[in-house]
Amino acid sequence: MLPIAKSELVQVLRDRAVLITSLLMPLAASAFFIGFRDVFAGIGSLGYVAAVLVFTIAAFSLYVTTVTTLAGRRQSLFLKRLRSTAAGDAAILTGLVLPVTVIALVQVAVIVTTFAVVGGTPADVLLFVVAAVATFAMMLALGIGTAGVTTSPEHAQVTTLPLSLGTIAVASWVGITGTQDLAELKRIMPGGAATELMVGAWNGGLALGDALLLLVPTAAWVVVAITIAAKMFRWEPRR
């Protein structure tokens, strides 16, 4: 698995298009949110800004890059090449997504830490981390699943739009309007409960019972995403 991850990291660092998508765009978007944090905090709250930062990086740096990478490797038959070796499917897939996942995790750690330094620290760091990690796990698995219906890196620009924009929209909807209205609907949407957890963890005031309750749909979405990935991912291009 590690030789594959190392080669994948080399490829990411040498591919300018992927570098721009996975590094520069999320960084630029994050800088925008942090720079105008008071405006966005006025619309929602600081917790909302933190949640949007996590979802922006999870959507663009992790999800889109995962789909683009896997579709490209399958289109070029690199996946078939790797499967001609003694490496198992799990090791191949883990090796392929490990670099983009680590890059995204480092990005989110640096950006959220920067936000905490300039905007104030979260009330419950552990809960925030749990919600962020669950969001990353969900987006990674959804990326693997979406790669199954994506024929090429170019096609990924289309196939990733619904979920990347959709999850950020859900995060914004929940973060700005709260869950006083339509609470059930908002919590069962992908990223809805995770957003509420992050907002509550950052702003404070979330009771333990409520947090545990929100962890259920958050974890359920991780399971759903993994199921989708297992059912939809394909190793071979369609004939």
């Binding site: 080399v10 040498r14 070029s76 038959l77 690199f78 070796t85 003694a86």
Partner: protein
């Protein structure tokens, strides 16, 4: 029947939806043998090869490779080298990085420098794969396949896109591997390569194996051909000659030497010059064509 086959395919069937690509296919490949699996377009040889290589599971029947299921990668792949029909390399990696990666994942020990030297890519070691020509990619593919001297080597269209010098070098390496006891499965559209190098040939058509045997056995089943033209007003040639067009004649024969001598004797006695005289033994191409046109054989789907 092979006694201890490296590859044992028994009544293999491969189905895509309602389409049956391969049906009731059985063959064995023995240790140290070069077996050429040939076929018309859509014959099912790619599906067969994918199952044998472990990239696809059989719908029906069974396949054993080196005594294990071909999908058992840990058991089979460290002993197997595969040259895919299409290269499938990461364009951003260099040639040396590619060989090291695939070599390490193969589970065999070797040095990238050795195999790159073997295929004449030493000077391209630090070049990115994206900058290689099509022929160089095929050589890189071959280098990764022979990394660590595998017991079993799959060569899927190995010389497509190679210039004649690279082809010769590749076959020289293949012959060295054979001399060391490597078992080789070859698919190719260059029938002369199969004719020259294969110990046995399996000829597929319509999803089944239509002919199998050594080149000599296969070609023996079809007549050799003598062709010539006669000048206007010439005497009628020996009775086995069949008229074609434009004063051309053909003799199809299983006794090439005898009938050629008879024709030459007749021409000498008749004082006739045989224009464009050619005598060709039966080649694998002829067997291949006969499979496609034999009314007893189903037409390609």
């Amino acid at each position: 029947m092979a006694t201890n086959p490296v590859i044992d395919v028994d009544r293999l069937g491969v189905t895509y939806g309602t389409f049956q690509a391969v049906q009731d296919l059985s063959f064995q490949v023995e240790r140290g043998e070069l077996y050429a699996l040939l076929g018309t377009n859509g014959a099912g040889k790619t599906s067969t090869l994918e199952v044998v290589e472990g990239h696809r599971t059989a719908t029906t029947g069974s396949v054993r490779v080196l005594g294990a299921a071909p999908t058992d990668r840990r058991a089979v792949r460290p002993r197997t080298g595969t040259m895919l029909q299409e290269s499938g390399f990461a364009p951003e990696l260099t040639v040396a990085e590619t060989v090291r990666l695939i070599g390490r994942l193969s589970g065999r020990e070797d040095s990238a420098e050795r195999v790159l030297g073997l295929v004449g890519l030493t000077r391209k070691a630090e070049t990115r794969v994206a900058q290689l020509s099509g022929g160089e990619k095929r050589r890189l593919d071959f280098a990764t396949a022979v990394y660590g001297r595998p017991e079993l080597l799959f060569l899927d269209e190995p010389t497509t896109g190679l210039d004649i010098r690279s082809r010769d070098a590749l076959w020289e390496t293949v012959e060295q591997l054979r001399a060391d006891g490597t078992t080789i499965v070859l698919t190719t559209h260059y029938l002369e390569e199969a004719q020259q190098h294969a110990d046995r040939v399996g000829l597929m058509h319509g999803g089944t194996l239509q002919r199998e045997g050594t080149v000599a056995e296969l070609t023996r089943s079809l007549p050799a051909s003598i062709r010539f033209s006669l000048p206007p007003g010439a005497a009628t040639p020996p009775r086995q000659a069949v008229p074609l067009e434009d004063r051309s004649w053909a003799i199809e024969t299983f006794e090439l030497q005898r009938d050629l001598k008879q024709l030459l004797d007749w021409a000498a006695a008749s004082k006739v010059e045989l224009d464009g005289l050619s005598a060709a033994p039966t080649r694998l191409d002829d067997v291949f064509r006969a499979v496609g046109t034999d009314p007893a054989v189903p037409a390609p789907r």
